[in-house]
Amino acid sequence: MTEIIDLVLLAMLAITALSVIFIKDLFTVVMLFGIYSFLSALIFVNLDAVDVAFTEASVGAGISTVLMLGTLALTGRKEKSSSRQTILPLLVVCVTGAALIYGTLDMPPFGDPNNPAQQHVAPRYINDSPREIGLPNMVTSVLASYRGFDTLGETAVVFAAAIGVLSLLGLPKQDRTLIQSGLKSHLVLRVVAKMIIPLIVLFALYVQFHGDYGPGGGFQAGVIAAAALILYALVFGLSVATHVVPPKVLKILAALGVLIYAGTGVVSLFLSANFLDYSVLASNPVAGQHIGIIAIELGVGITVFAAMLSIFYAFAGQAERKNIQ
């Protein structure tokens, strides 16, 4: 049964991807990309990668699509047909594709439990991490503890992206005149949004702290919390949203999250252990791991929330400026 689902999903992905090449209406293209992202999230679920599916759906289909639509609002919806030659790109793609197919010929069989990837480093994560770290979610154990340095790098990437977008587009000023813009004429949207937004924030907090026991964690939580405020900004207007969460505060929060994460690692240094070694944070190593993981996931969640929201503010601020002009 899973194979049939797999095949159907892959076929839909292929059709979606191919249609992106030929369609000239960019709004449709972005929507197709959102569909592509959701379908790949479904494939991830099928392949047992639930945390990844969660992240792909919220980050890939959620934030990426929002930012692309925000860009389209400023750059225009239609792609102009070009007279660019397609022979060279097609050639490059065929050569690259052929090289990849050549590479797949020696690949280990799909799904085989005797593959090198399943035999070497992974067994310790699967068999020992519930005991060593004390968490059921092995992905969180690996992400936050064994390979916590990667996740610190990832948080730095999010911070770097926020810095990049801030330097390119700048943040909107906190507006004193409180222009009521947004979709305020749509009564249904206003009422439903008012009911749903607190629930979304609550869900974000749940995902943040429940990530140790089920799919979830700092990244997904940060994105969902940002989504709640993006919805608020869309329905009630950017200027109202900037009063609720001022842009200056977001800058500070983004920086603070990275500092919390790196700071946890530095605390370990002062306690005479290696960087990011959480076992020394409490008298019992497993309790220390729990404390460390909660602290860094908090840092991740804060930075991701602040970064995603400030990136949205930057794009929305540009759109407002254009509308006013």
Partner: protein
């Protein structure tokens, strides 16, 4: 026949990768380039997750009664890669907004003529 069953997953993913790659290098519109880049990267993620799948396994969350788990390591790697991907997309899109403001267009062949080619 067995070989095809064992490898078709990878081949479809390679096809998707190449579609994305083609969009990136052949699109004239900058926004479409970024869309293609995302399609390319998402397909690479699917390749990684396919590596970790164990037939008959379940999600890597320890639970009573489950003996086989899929490999959590590729999941961790791809979580990181997804976030890196969206970060790059955000910066790329911000650049596109500025380019539109500066050049008035986001079609690549139009500003290749507007500026001196280096």
């Amino acid at each position: 026949m067995n070989f095809i069953v064992e490898h078709y997953n990878y081949w479809v993913v390679v096809f998707l990768m190449m579609v994305g790659f083609y969009i990136v290098i052949s699109a004239n519109n900058l926004v479409k380039k970024i869309v293609g880049l995302n399609v390319f990267q998402t397909s690479v993620f699917m390749m990684y997750i396919s590596i970790g799948k164990v037939t008959g396994g379940s999600a890597p969350i320890a639970a009573e009664g489950i003996t086989t788990y899929s490999n959590p390591l590729p999941h961790v790697l791809i979580l990181t890669a997804i976030v890196v991907g969206v970060a790059t997309t955000a910066v790329g899109l911000a650049l596109i907004v500025r380019i539109k403001r500066a050049y008035g267009t986001v079609e690549e062949n139009e500003f290749e003529h507007k500026e001196e080619l280096i």
